[in-house]
């Protein structure tokens, strides 16, 4: 088995005395992964991202299937010449923008602080 641990890359930038980082060791990763802070962070991330992904994919698929097999329903006018299909299509734009906003708010409030604390701990500048 030939493992090249890490490809050499650009030389690391000169360490700034205030934010000098150290490379975490295997035990550090293991310890953090088992910590309550990390499992909490992972849970908060997945509980938002996974169901939301399922939801928007299903909603998109529903829209695609309706457009393909329920042509008459989609062509039914609702507002002047705007029909069900165009309204639902514009609804896809709305839900995409809405979900983006919700996720950014969730991440800023519930994910970033915990991630920053764990990162500081791992890089040894807490």
């Amino acid at each position: 088995m030939s493992r090249t641990p890490d490809l050499p890359s650009a030389p690391a930038p000169a360490p700034d005395p205030g934010t000098a980082r150290r490379e975490p060791a295997a035990e550090d990763w293991q310890r953090v992964r088992e910590s309550a802070e990390f499992t909490g962070l992972r849970r908060r991330f997945r509980r938002f991202a996974f169901p939301m992904t399922a939801a928007f994919l299903l909603w998109y698929l529903l829209y695609v299937l309706l457009s393909t097999y329920a042509e008459d329903l989609m062509a039914t006018p609702v507002l002047g010449r705007l029909n069900v299909g165009i309204v639902l299509g514009l609804g896809q734009f709305v839900t995409t923008f809405l979900l983006t906003w919700l996720y950014v708010r969730h991440a800023d409030r519930n994910l970033d602080p915990a991630a920053a604390a764990l990162r500081a701990e791992l890089e040894g500048r807490a």
Partner: protein, 523 residues
């Protein structure tokens, strides 16, 4: 159809080239490290990168293609743009941030993080090059049609010459500016494109007193298909196979964006996961707004220019947006939109070239051939040489593919990205057991099944509109392979994993913690 004054078009495009070249030269001054060629120093803000992503993503195919599809097919054109937009939620929720946290330059960095390096890097490079090649071909093929339309160059030789000039310019951008220069070209282009399209949108809306219903009414009244353009399946509804082909296309679009290597590489140009998130947020806002514009522009072109008029123009449906520009603002606005369309091709091709060059130099040359021992300087030199080779290949490919259906080539790139790249990316980020065999099977399986199904689809042979109309070896009825090849990619990833056991527990733990916290990621 009158297409304005070719001289004005060339002058405005020339001005764009001069301005962007100055910018590229300016930003590429100063001390540079080897990695800068790939990620531009990781110094872009989320907003800058988000605008650049929009610049990368809003290719000529989506600008000219979607506006044209809306003008000719109405509602079905909207379906296209919705898939392209919703796809970004996959990138936002599942891919952008962990990718930024675990990789360095290329998609393979993430995939190979806890796997055996050589097989995984080879597979990832092969699919990166395949996706980039089809995407490149689409852009360059579009350039030929655009030349015909906007510069009045009708003969093959003249068009080939212009394609060569576009390719040569692109090589200069990439060599001089690297990722930093290319990013700035994309930012400038995105702003021009969105402002230009926004202006025309407002114009069309004002002509309709801001009433969407009246716009639709006028578009349908003058359209040869009448009210049918307001409902679905004018373009895809011919048969059961074409309907299923559309569903397949929809799957490719929604799952493909987060697997496009040139998009993934853009997430490395920002300093943190938070900025990667900001990038996607900006990209979603801009891309979404732009697709709403194209909807208005398409319906506007349908009645202001006329569908028969559009289809009769050189470039066919692709000429809807330029023709509308001419109708609204005369020679000058057409010149601006024409220049922006050219700039689009230039910028997208430059981004693709850097991606292909990085993948070859970093993954194949250094990772596989040199087993990670090549110096960064040497690796970047190889990347630069690769960029020139890719540029030349794309010129030749563009000349040969001139006249091919641009939208089809792009949907092909999306199908391969969704089948070969996305399954392995998601598995490696979220499935701890995922193994080297699973990764390699998933990539090759997705890639090969997509390519084989395309080769034997009615798009390539066996129909009047096929690439080779005289030949008939088609047995796969759908125009897009994703409905089959995406499940194949996921299934093989699972099968390869459960039949092997080489998971590196320590690296898996490290990757999991890195992906969520960003610890140890290069800034």
């Amino acid at each position: 159809m009158d297409v304005g004054n070719p001289l004005v078009n060339i002058l405005i495009f020339g001005a764009f080239v001069v301005v962007t070249l100055v910018v590229v030269v300016r930003v590429s001054r100063g001390p540079r490290q080897a990695g800068d060629f790939y990620h531009g120093g990781r110094a872009f803000t989320g907003r800058q990168n988000g605008i650049a992503i929009a610049g990368d993503y809003l290719s000529a195919a989506s600008f000219l293609g979607i506006a044209g599809a809306v003008a000719v097919y109405g509602y079905d054109g909207l379906l296209y743009s919705i898939g392209f937009l919703v796809a970004w939620l996959v990138a936002l929720l599942l891919v952008a941030e962990p990718l930024r946290n675990t990789g360095k330059y290329t998609m393979a960095d993430v995939l190979s993080f806890r796997m055996r390096q050589r097989p995984v890097r080879t597979a990832a490079a092969v699919s990166t090059l395949a996706v980039s090649f089809f995407y490149l071909l689409a852009q360059m093929a579009g350039a030929g049609g655009l030349v015909a339309l906007l510069l009045g160059v009708q003969d093959q030789l003249g068009q080939s010459l212009v394609i060569a000039v576009v390719g040569a310019l692109m090589i200069v951008y990439v060599l001089v500016g690297g990722m930093k220069g290319t990013t700035w070209v994309q930012i400038i282009k995105a702003v021009l494109l969105i402002v230009g399209a926004g202006l025309m949108t407002v114009w069309v809306l004002v002509l309709n007193n801001g009433n969407l219903s009246s716009l639709l009414d006028r578009a349908a009244r003058d359209h040869p298909e009448g009210d049918r353009i307001l409902g679905p399946m004018l373009q895809y509804g011919a048969s059961d196979a074409s309907k299923l082909g559309f569903i397949s296309l929809a799957i490719a679009l929604v799952l493909g964006a987060a697997g496009l290597p040139h998009v993934l590489m853009r997430f490395y140009t920002v300093p943190s996961a938070r900025e990667a998130r900001r990038s996607v947020t900006w990209a979603i806002g801009l891309i979404g707004a732009f697709y709403l514009f194209t909807l208005i522009l398409g319906f506007g072109a349908a009645y202001l220019v006329g569908v028969d008029e559009i289809l009769a123009a050189p470039g066919g449906a692709n000429s809807a947006a330029p023709a509308l520009a001419y109708e609204l603002g005369g020679t000058l606005l057409l010149g601006v939109i024409a220049a922006v369309a050219f700039a689009t091709i230039l910028a997208v091709v430059a981004g693709l070239t850097i991606t292909a060059a990085a993948s070859f130099a970093h993954d194949v040359y250094n990772g596989v051939i040199k087993r990670g021992t090549a110096s960064p300087e040497r690796e970047v030199r190889v990347a630069r040489i690769t960029a020139v080779v890719v540029g030349l290949v794309s010129i030749v490919g563009g000349v040969l593919a001139n006249g091919q259906n641009v939208a089809f080539l792009v949907s092909l790139a999306f199908a391969i990205a969704a089948s070969a790249n996305l399954p392995s990316i998601l598995f490696s980020l979220y499935w701890r057991r995922f193994s080297t065999r699973g990764c390699v099977w998933s990539i090759y399986g997705g890639l090969l099944s997509a390519l084989v199904l395309i080769a034997f689809s009615p798009v390539v042979t066996g129909s009047e509109t096929a690439m080779f109309p005289g030949l008939d070896v088609a047995w796969f009825p759908l125009a897009n392979p994703a409905l089959v090849s995406v499940p194949v990619g996921f299934l093989l990833g699972w099968l390869g994993t459960v039949t092997s056991d080489d998971a590196d527990q320590a690296r898996a733990t490290e990757m999991e913690v890195r992906s969520l916290t960003g610890a140890g990621a290069e800034r």
